[in-house]
């Protein structure tokens, strides 16, 4: 560290900056947040893990089910094979929770959030720029997962004589919905993360809401279950990546109504996160 000898020059050797040009605006915040998220390996690895785990589990599941079923093609066609083909989303959603959580909590873990908010003290800019970046990335990765899972799955079912494709009844909506569902999981975690500022706590809450709640409800009396079940995040959100929405799963929500309920959870978390991010000491 002995490279500094001429301290007299201080900043004179540096490029003169263009005259102060107005505001640190939302565009700058977006560019900055994009750089932040792409420049750490943990993000890249988390997303790679989401894809590998989800598509991998989907593939294994479809291979296993297709090669061991004794049902006829006609019986199989009555099942929601589209949703089954994307089975890996059940685990992928947890990795998306980790991604959404880290996008915000890692700044608190390191204390870097203070540097960020010194550069851009208008906190809503920072919050929404992060939100946009997380939403877009989680959407793209989510769609990669759902489309890859489905397209791989169709091959296994084709060996059983079931002709499944994106033009099958409800398939395109369900496959797009699979990606949207994953996006929702990331957003839910992002909101919780902004409110809690703690990685492990955020992931715990995310897993609780998406997984554990359903298990608890299973232990409730049947009459309660019927009322509560469809409102649970995973069940409501599950409708958007399914092709059948009837008594099958005990719910009355259609695809988009279910998705709306699911997104409500994310929106509530995001609003709570926004309030904390805006008001609380950094």
């Amino acid at each position: 560290m002995s490279t500094i000898t001429d301290t007299r020059s201080t900043l004179t050797g540096l490029t003169p900056l263009p005259p102060a040009s107005g505001r640190a605006g939302f565009g700058g915040a977006l560019r900055s947040e994009w750089t932040k998220i792409r420049s750490v390996k943990s993000t890249v690895w988390t997303l790679a893990a989401a894809i590998i785990i989800s598509v991998g589990i989907s593939t294994l599941g479809n291979w296993g089910q297709a090669s061991h079923t004794s049902l006829s093609a006609a019986d199989l066609a009555r099942r929601d094979l589209v949703q089954r083909s994307m089975f890996g989303i059940m685990l992928g959603q947890l990795v998306m929770v980790v991604f959404g959580a880290l996008a915000i909590t890692s700044e608190y873990a390191t204390g870097m959030v203070r540097t960020s908010l010194t550069a851009q003290p208008r906190r809503l800019h920072v919050y929404f720029a992060k939100l946009v970046i997380v939403t877009v990335i989680a959407f793209v990765v989510g769609e990669i997962i759902s489309f890859a899972s489905f397209l791989i799955g169709t091959h296994f079912w084709a060996t059983k004589g079931v002709d499944l494709s994106l033009s099958s009844h409800g398939a395109l909506q369900a496959v797009i919905g699979g990606g949207l569902y994953l996006d929702g999981a990331a957003l839910l975690a992002f909101g919780v993360g902004a409110a809690l500022r703690h990685t492990a706590g955020t992931i715990t809450v995310g897993v609780f809401l998406l997984f554990v709640v359903s298990i608890i409800v299973n232990f409730m009396p049947d009459s309660w279950q019927a009322d509560i079940d469809k409102y649970l995040p995973a069940n409501a959100g599950g409708q958007v990546w399914a092709t059948q929405h009837t008594a099958d799963v005990g719910t009355a929500f259609g695809a988009w109504a279910g998705f709306a309920v699911y997104i409500c959870y994310a929106v509530i978390a995001l609003l709570a996160g926004l309030l904390v991010f805006k008001r609380k000491d950094a």
Partner: protein, 349 residues
Amino acid sequence: MIEVRDLVKRYGATTAVDHLSFTVQPGRITGFLGPNGAGKSTTMRLILGLDRPTSGSALIEGKPYRDLPDPLRHVGALLEARAVHGGRTAFNHLLYLAQTQGVPKRRVQQVLELVGLQPVANKRTKGFSLGMSQRLGIAAALLADPRILILDEPVNGLDPEGIVWIRDLMKALAAEGRTILVSSHLMNEMAVTADHLVVVGRGRLQADMPVAQFIAQFSGSAVLVRSPQLETLRAAVAEKGWQCTPSGQEGAVVVTGTTAPELGELAAARGLVLHELTPQRASLEEAFMELTREVGQFAHRAPGQPEPADAPVPGQYAPPSGQPDAGFTAPGAPGAGAGQPRGGNDGGH
């Protein structure tokens, strides 16, 4: 210019900043001095709009920090050097800051060069020493050529060479007419760095004056006197209302409240033999301890909080005049007092 007006910040039962008011003028280095837990970092966070004041305000060029259109061009701040994501490279850390307000990319390379981190620009900051992290923090602060610099204990973790480097850098920046607020808990470091001092203890303002005035006012003068007729001399000194304190040496005492000529004249008038008559200046560090002493007793302990290890212990330090001349030579030596190993930033938050 930075204006702090009647600023108060409470965290539960702890009052971290207690009705603090001062201004930081351009063209000079203002040392923000106080023992650990005095509220320096909190004040800086309040100035930067990171924490919300309980009451009062802090203004940058007349505006709250949040209202600065392009804050990095007004203010460069170094708060905690370790507050970077270890998985990101030095270059990318500066890049995302630059992008918030359209600072050109080549500027990132240039500030990295300026602080000597060019060779590790593309290394992840996880492996950086505390000194390298401090340099990265300085680079971030200088990124957009700000008129104002706010540096929280920037010499922490630097080797003596680094300390001299940063001191020279700050002096050069101040000479260019920039406003510099730099905090420290080390009086000796500030004595050789700062032009002006704002001293805090327990969140309250203790002094706000030029360094020279601080020295003149707070480091009381004293005289070491050696005499074979020490007992008679003691009596004469007591008659005059001056104080004798032990010097730690056989046959000599330290007399405070007077000067060498006065004491010499007194001895001559009484016909006393003197073997030595040496003026003493108390060290600045002692003056600082003295100043923050009565508040130091409470400053570091919120109810139920352990006392920080390196907080000055009340009563441990002799009054300014009671010790031999140590402090005035120390500041001249590069890094004196500041190079002690310290574990990271001072705790507290």
